[in-house]
């Protein structure tokens, strides 16, 4: 089975609020001192793919990223985690980065890379968190879609999927090809690559696409008309346990 995992590099979502600034003109977060990291759900997706490969054998895993030069780091880490190959579509900034354009770029790159039975994305990214790329990618590729999966296994020609809902979980049987978005679970915590594999990953060749060569027509979808940091820090009053109990009792008595 050929598996493709889409991976996004983002500004570290755990940058403390006091260091977080936005650029009101570009309507984006300012990088500032924050480091760049791979979106955690993309790593959960890769981990899920790696476990599927380990159980079934014979699968190959390709990591794909659409982003700036620095996104190469995300792909090198994917290779160190033992993805088989990686491809970068270099973002030249000429397309608005809304989820429809991103899905079209990914779909075009996927068609160039080969035939994939299973395409995984994270459920959403820790920056804009649109939560749409996987679903729109399925539409662009014209194949079915399942969201919020946390475990995959093959059973003959079928894929058996466990996915999370508000109330619990569901089991889904699916035919391939398919796009699946992955959410976090205790079983898909991303593995830490071995030092040796990190070194090896830096020697592997990446497939690179210029955005222009994929001939993706940008389209309208949505536009960010405002981006602001809400001011609502509360001043915490530090109390002892007795006072805490009194305050809690006050609130619960009023319910």
């Amino acid at each position: 089975m050929n598996i493709l995992v889409c991976m996004k590099q983002i500004l570290d979502p755990e940058v403390p609020a006091r260091d977080f600034r936005i650029d009101p003109v570009q309507k984006e977060a300012e990088p500032g001192s924050a480091s760049l990291v791979t979106n955690i759900f993309c790593e959960n997706a890769l981990e899920t793919a790696l476990q599927l490969k380990e159980r079934t054998g014979g699968a190959t895993i390709t990591a794909l990223s659409f982003g700036p030069e620095s996104a190469e780091e995300t792909l090198r880490k994917a290779l160190a985690m033992k993805a088989d190959s990686a491809a970068l579509v270099l973002d030249d900034g000429r397309l608005a980065r809304h989820p429809l354009n991103v899905a079209r770029v990914l779909a075009a790159a996927i068609r160039r890379l080969g035939t994939f039975e299973l395409i995984l994305t994270g459920r959403e990214a820790g920056d804009w968190g649109a939560g749409q790329t996987g679903a729109l990618l399925a539409e662009e590729l014209g194949i079915p879609y399942v969201a919020f999966a946390d475990a995959l296994e093959t059973s003959g020609a079928q894929l058996r999927i466990r996915r999370q809902t508000e109330a619990g979980f569901e089991r889904i049987e699916a035919r391939l090809p398919l796009v699946v978005t992955i959410t976090n679970d205790e079983h898909n915590v991303p593995r830490i690559p071995k030092v040796r594999d990190v070194m090896m990953a830096h020697r592997q060749t990446l497939t690179r696409f210029e955005l222009a060569e994929l001939h993706v027509a940008g389209d309208d979808y949505y536009e960010v008309v405002d981006l602001a940091v809400p001011k609502k820090e509360t001043r915490c009053e530090f109390v002892d346990v007795e006072e805490l109990a009194r305050r809690i009792a006050e609130i619960t008595a009023a319910l």
């Binding site: 403390p16 968190g129 976090n184 205790e186 915590v189 536009e223």
Partner: protein, 283 residues
């Protein structure tokens, strides 16, 4: 000008959507979906929503799974996790948290229909139209490629976290499932509270994923949210931005949770919680 609200079994969400639709103006149709199967429901819903200018859904898993694809099939645009929706000069604008709740963005949808999934339960309830259309998908052969074959409702999710007035939540600092069982659960019982957890505690497997509160997880709005041994990562805070009062117990006085808490205790929860239970149990 037609709005369509689409919902499943959750009445509070449906009324929240009706409230949001009423503020947009125009006529509102309501569609309730029965017997969800991904591809069948999507195809039928796309057919049913033709001609609509706005389609509103809630932020449950099914709605999020459907919404972007529905927009794509109708030639529209989609935005999700909205905490607000309004019409400005004929365009639909959606307000939503971004960067794990550290910023708030307003997105203007550039295509019609605007397909929007909302934090429906935090909208003022409106009135559903007299006629609610029911869209039932048939469990036909697996011709569509995917089939939901089992649906499990976990016992702990029987009362909705989203409806809870009081929530007792634990994080990584709880240290293991026994902390939840032996310290937090008795406290929650005493307060008539629901239990919840941060992503770290769910990822560690200490509690089920249905307990997770945060940007990816439940969005809750209790009168009191008691955060125990939770650092307060922004991804967690994004799920409790509508809590009335946040109280925190944490051993680290510099934990970010204290920047959001109204009051807090700096100490080991293993010392604080037993004492707190004792004080609260007194008549």
């Amino acid at each position: 000008m037609t709005n369509v609200i689409v919902f499943f079994s959750d009445d509070r969400s449906a009324r929240g959507l009706a409230g949001a639709a009423a503020k947009l103006g125009g006529d509102t149709r309501a569609i309730r979906i029965d017997g969800y199967q991904i591809e069948e429901t999507l195809a039928a819903l796309a057919e049913a929503c033709r001609g609509a200018e706005v389609v509103l859904l809630a932020n449950d898993a099914y709605s999020q799974e459907l919404a972007p694809r529905l927009a794509h099939r109708l030639g529209g645009a989609c935005a999700g996790d909205g905490s607000g929706v309004q019409r400005v000069d004929g365009r639909i604008r959606v307000t939503r948290q971004v960067y794990g709740g550290k910023a708030e963005a307003v997105l203007e949808l550039k295509r019609s229909p605007a397909v929007v999934w909302l934090r429906a339960r935090s909208f003022d309830a409106g009135v559903l139209p007299d006629t609610v259309e029911v869209l039932a998908s048939h469990d036909s052969a697996a011709s569509s490629g995917t089939r939901i074959v089992e649906r499990h409702v976990s016992e702990t999710a029987t009362t909705k976290l989203e409806d809870a007035n009081v929530i007792v939540a634990g994080g990584r600092g709880i240290g293991g499932p026994e902390g939840f069982r032996e310290e937090l659960q008795p406290l929650a019982e005493l307060l008539g509270a629901q239990l919840a957890a941060s992503r770290a505690a769910c990822d560690a497997g200490w509690v089920p994923p249905t307990w997770q509160v945060g940007q990816t997880g439940k969005k809750v709005a209790p009168q009191l949210y008691l955060a125990i041994a939770i650092t307060g990562a922004s991804q967690h805070m994004a799920g409790i931005s509508e809590a009335k009062t946040i109280a925190a117990i944490n051993i680290d006085p510099d934990a970010p949770i204290f920047r959001h808490a109204r009051f807090g205790v700096v100490d080991d929860y293993r010392k604080v919680v037993p004492l707190l239970r004792q004080k609260l149990a007194k008549p």
